[in-house]
Symmetry: C2
């Protein structure tokens, strides 16, 4: 696993600025700086719905109506995407979003990295960026619901499972 660190190509770009992309530079274990496959980080909320659908397809998620996806994105407080730019082409390779009351609590949803880009630390970059932006907005409780196979991933990023016995609970329509 590559030890990552993200830098911004242009450090005076405001983190909440919508239209700028920030080039990711990843450090390997020896901390030699390497540019990582021309991947850019963005917090632009204007996501191409078809590209997002393709990305979700690539990890086998159930298809969702695009109309509802559009509403869900519109009502997300923060959206983070990773875009590979190569020549004139760009490809959505990572995504995550958070809902929030913008006062106290936030919940992270839909964390996805394209299989071709997994195992390279990009999931950490996305979550790290979400946390950073939520902290800038003074959100004190950042929550998520983790499938069993990613619990240890989130633990390494500082998330605590069932703190003080608090349990995540779900209600589904019958």
């Amino acid at each position: 696993m590559i030890f990552w660190k993200n830098f911004f190509q242009n450090s005076n770009i405001n983190a909440s600025s919508e239209k700028n992309f920030k080039k990711l530079i990843v450090l390997d274990k020896t901390c030699d700086k390497i540019e990582f496959k021309d991947i850019y980080l963005s917090s632009n909320k204007n996501i191409n719905l078809y590209e997002l659908e393709q990305l979700c397809d690539s990890v086998g998620w159930v298809k969702r109506p695009l109309k509802k996806v559009k509403i869900a994105l519109k009502n997300s407080s923060i959206i983070i995407s990773l875009i590979q730019k190569k020549d004139a082409n760009s490809k959505l390779v990572g995504f995550a979003r958070a809902t929030s009351d913008n006062g106290f609590n936030a919940t992270i949803w839909d964390v996805v990295i394209h299989p071709d880009f997994q195992g390279l630390g990009l999931g950490k970059v996305v979550i790290h960026q979400l946390i950073q932006q939520l902290r800038q907005a003074e959100i004190s409780t950042i929550t998520l619901f983790a499938e069993p196979d990613v619990v240890s991933f989130y633990k390494k990023l500082g998330f605590i499972k069932d703190p003080d016995g608090v349990k995540g609970m779900f209600w589904y329509p019958r």
Copy 2:
């Protein structure tokens, strides 16, 4: 424990209507209809912040800056409150809210019933109403984080703890 059922005094009131209050009528175990202490259910988002603070104080919650509470309420998708109206006076006796992307997911926060009104089924009324409104908005995943002492309460209302091993996780600032 009283077996409850809520009726609306005026059944043609739209559930999402902001300015109407719906009178709660509670049935006891023998199903004799009794009017319950003149309590009204409301989904009006204009909550008196000081009354809410008083209600949260009554159950020993840590004080929160009203400015942030105001922002959090503004960014909540649904707010449910229970108001006791007696003569010319009214008192906030119950509260709950949910954040949502209005497409797929919602999270319930800040469920509180005044101690003088606990054990009468009003918590169920509030959660039932939240679920009803979220279902009307076609939200399929309703989530919450339950303290250990209320896990069984939510189970009785159909919430499932850690479904398929999915874990609630929290990140706090250090």
